[in-house]
């Protein structure tokens, strides 16, 4: 039973990782590429880490509980640091003056609609 849950969660996480990787390749712009990059960090890592914490808990002992707690702590740490890293990259791009992608190919930076 727990093997089925672990496999299902692992496959869900791998689907999120795959979608993030494809999004990083296919998105047209630097700013839009950051969106799948931020998503795959949180969702994919959450699902795979919960799967592995459940699997390491299947023989029940104090060490197994400690290992599972550490795996969950990695998820908490990544949930704090991944938006911070993404925001730092955006901040570097904005301060360097990179232009966002528009349909016409060129767009003024502070005039995103036209």
């Amino acid at each position: 039973m727990i093997n089925f849950i672990v496999t299902a969660l692992l496959i869900c996480g791998l689907i999120f990782f795959f979608g993030g990787a494809v999004g990083i390749i296919r998105m047209p712009d630097f700013y839009s590429r950051l969106h799948p990059a931020g998503k795959l960090d949180t969702m994919g890592l959450l699902m795979t880490m919960i799967a592995m914490a459940l699997y390491s808990l299947h023989e029940f002992s104090v060490d197994a509980i400690l290992t599972s707690m550490k795996i969950i702590l990695i998820v908490v740490f990544v949930f704090i640091t991944s938006p911070t890293a993404t925001h730092a990259i955006v901040d570097a791009g904005v301060r360097a003056g990179l232009e966002p992608w528009t349909k016409e190919g060129k767009g003024a930076y502070y005039d995103m609609g036209t």
Binding site: A21, L40, G44, M52, I74, T81, A85
Partner: protein, 95 residues
């Protein structure tokens, strides 16, 4: 259950190659930084998978935690560095 972990680790390594495309051919420096960040977050999951395959999770979980912290610090320092250097104009694709 070992085969499930083995094949998911292999699939994760193949996805890393997809992210490596952005890190190698990225038009700007920050695109390469996005690719490196994505590869690092996948490596955190891959390290625990390796630990589950070798049945040494208690050792590999510490390595994964250190790798996640190192990845965060590297991305933060690199983005601050390139923001100060203003070296992004040279590789810009538009204009």
């Amino acid at each position: 259950m070992d085969t499930v972990f083995l094949y998911s680790a292999l699939f994760l390594a193949v996805i890393m190659l997809l992210s490596l495309y952005r890190a190698v051919f990225g038009p700007t420096v920050l695109d390469r930084l996005i690719g490196v960040n994505a590869i690092g977050s996948k490596t955190t999951a891959l390290l625990i998978l390796i630990g589950l395959i070798y049945r040494r999770v208690d050792m590999f979980v510490d390595i994964a935690l250190a790798y996640a912290m190192l990845n965060f610090i590297a991305v933060l320092a690199a983005s601050r560095f390139f923001q100060k250097r203003k070296g992004l104009y040279d590789e810009q694709e538009t204009k």
